[in-house]
């Protein structure tokens, strides 16, 4: 016995959650650089919506806003929704990449190594945060070039960044869980698609009181509405009031719930 352990004493001292998550994060960032088409597509998605809404619908929609006047007012109105779509867009790719990992043998390889159990998933979530911040900066920069001006305070923008991070955590854990529960990568890239449409059924593009009763009820109570309203208040220099707490509450609920769901899926999914 002692002979065996003597010759097999490993250099590795065992799982280390911080070190292993950091390694997985670097792997994911490297993948992002390699998989350029997907990376660019994800950043382009919210930009396309921005251009479409500002230049195609903007003139008419802006005139229809209460007290609003033309394209630039409409742009300021939809910016929070565009930010939310940026977060959603990146989180969707996480569902796909997680499912791809599970489909290929590489996760089985990780599982036979002394790696912190959480590292594969944590690495993905950290990667999504880095990616979202990057996409967020690009989207805001493009908007500014197109004429977007914010009346928000520094404190307000810090709040915006904080809420974006919180939304990223919540949505990414949700898409991680969806990716883990999908039978293959194909399905995983389709099942979370409704998330991309939910911002349209919120206060993001038109005021909810312009909607028919049923839709309006849905729009007022769905989680994206308080998030968008909070972002809109902070980006325009106003206070968000109770909406902020509602937005944070939703993020916490979704994030913790989906984290637990994802964790149980990850330890359970073992068939090939």
């Amino acid at each position: 016995m002692s002979a065996v352990t003597a010759t097999t004493a490993p250099v590795n001292s065992g799982p280390n959650a911080v070190l292993d998550s950091w390694t997985m994060l670097r792997r994911n960032l490297l993948q992002m650089v390699r998989y350029k088409s997907l990376t660019l597509m994800l950043i382009a998605q919210p930009l396309i919506f921005l251009l479409l809404f500002v230049y195609v619908f903007g003139g008419t929609m802006g005139a229809g806003l209460p007290g609003g006047d033309g394209r630039s007012d409409y742009m300021a109105f939809i910016m929070p929704a565009i930010v939310v779509m940026t977060v959603v867009s990146v989180s969707l790719s996480t569902a796909y990449t997680i499912a791809l990992d599970m489909e290929k043998g590489i996760v089985d390889r990780f599982r036979t190594m002394a790696i912190a159990k959480s590292a594969v998933l944590t690495g993905r979530v950290l990667g999504a945060i880095v990616f979202t911040v990057l996409a967020f900066v690009v989207v805001i920069a493009v908007a500014v070039v197109l004429g977007y001006r914010s009346d928000g305070t520094v404190l307000g923008w810090l709040g915006v960044i904080g809420l974006v991070l919180l939304m990223t955590l919540a949505l990414t854990w949700a898409t991680v869980a969806l990716g883990l529960s999908a039978p293959n990568a194909e399905t995983a890239s389709n099942t979370p698609m409704p998330l991309m449409f939910l911002p349209f059924l919120s206060s993001g593009f038109v005021p909810t009181d312009s909607m028919p009763a049923g839709l309006r009820w849905f729009a007022e109570y769905q989680p994206f509405t308080p998030m968008i309203d909070t972002l809109r208040a902070w980006m325009s220099g106003a206070g968000a009031g109770s909406d902020a707490w509602l937005a944070i509450g939703w993020c916490g609920l979704i994030g913790i719930g989906c984290f637990l769901w994802a964790r149980s899926l990850y330890t359970k999914v073992r068939a090939h």
Binding site: P10, R27, L30, Q31, R109
Partner: protein, 333 residues
């Protein structure tokens, strides 16, 4: 290389291991022992339960009953101790195709917490050893099947494990790549690494293993050295094809134990695999009358036929799963 093994505890010890997936009894009480420094080959057809056995031993799934110890640690209670010390190359490619070969190896080095310099050196060393230097900085997606397999194995070796599991290492490789892979595995054996491999080919087990276990429908039906197994298999024969039926029947009368097939003009002569017997047989053949000659060595089919009385069948075609399962059971569920 195996001189000290008697004094050491076995690298793998399995007693009465069982595993079922619902009604499918995949492993039905496996017993085996693999001494440190030796190579054990689990030989069996599709669906025999090879991968399931490997997945239990490598802590991916747990068995339903029985015990399995790997390097002295119980698979169910001390999985991390085992994971620290083993290397696994699964049946399906476990490389990251978006990364380059070098980055894949570096990833393994980082996950094994090798210091940066040491990890880089180890990656380079393995790239050289596995003939991947030219492709080192190319995306692994562009690699050929053989190169992917080599990278897969190289990744397994980054941590210098003393016990490695190889699930069908050469399936899907062409004969040349297979020989190259065998050469690499032989080098590992010479370094004293303990190897547990699975295969569908008797030839592969014969080439590499000290001991072979024949797995059929979740049961080990035979175990022994490759030579012992082949001795139990009467599958060796020489097929002699004749130019015409007259020559065939003349020869059939002259050679004892031979069976003639008039349709294919072939005479089958039992053969024990020795050169002497072959020389004697060839000496008795009429070179004018013989069109061709083929020496047939026993393969997995012959081993199975001899040991189990049936040909190897993939799981999907198992009689228990189809004809014997009454329809009413399906309806009742």
């Amino acid at each position: 290389m195996t001189t000290h093994t008697a004094a050491q505890a076995p690298a793998i010890e399995v007693t009465d291991l069982r595993k079922s997936f619902e009604d499918n009894h995949v492993l039905q009480g496996i017993e085996l022992t693999v001494p440190a420094g030796t190579v054990y080959a689990l030989l069996g057809p599709n669906g025999a339960g090879k991968t399931t056995a490997v997945r239990i031993l490598t802590t991916l799934i747990s068995g339903d009953a029985g015990t399995a110890t790997v390097l002295g640690h119980d698979v169910s209670t001390e999985p991390d101790a085992i994971r620290l010390r083993i290397g696994v190359t699964g049946q399906f490619s476990a490389i990251d195709e978006l990364l380059t070969g070098r980055e894949n190896l570096q990833l393994m080095a980082d996950l094994n917490h090798l210091p940066r310099r040491q990890g880089r050196a180890r990656a380079q060393e393995l790239l050289e050893r596995f003939d991947l230097v030219d492709a080192a900085d190319r995306g692994a997606a562009t690699y050929s099947g053989g190169m992917k397999r080599r990278l897969d194995l190289a990744m397994t070796l980054v941590s210098s494990p003393r016990l490695i599991f190889l699930d069908e290492p050469s399936t899907g490789l062409d004969p040349r790549s297979r020989r190259e892979l065998w050469q690499i595995i032989r080098e590992l054996i010479n370094e004293g690494v303990t190897i547990f491999l699975t295969t569908q080919y008797l030839e592969e087990a014969d080439e590499l293993a000290h001991k072979v276990g024949v797995l059929d429908r979740g049961t080990l039906v035979a175990e022994g050295t490759p030579a012992e197994l082949k001795r139990r298999v009467p599958g060796g024969r020489v097929d002699v094809t004749y130019v015409d039926p007259v020559a065939l029947s003349t020869a059939a009368g002259a050679i004892a134990g031979a069976t003639a097939d008039l349709e294919s003009l072939t005479l089958s002569v039992p053969h024990d695999g020795t050169l002497g017997a072959l020389q004697e047989l060839v000496g008795r053949l009429d070179s004018e009358a013989v069109a061709s000659l083929e020496v047939h060595t026993p393969d997995l089919d012959d081993v199975f036929l001899a040991l189990t009385g049936h040909r190897p069948q993939p799981a999907e075609e198992r009689p228990e799963n189809t004809t014997e399962a009454p329809m009413t059971e399906e309806v009742a569920r």
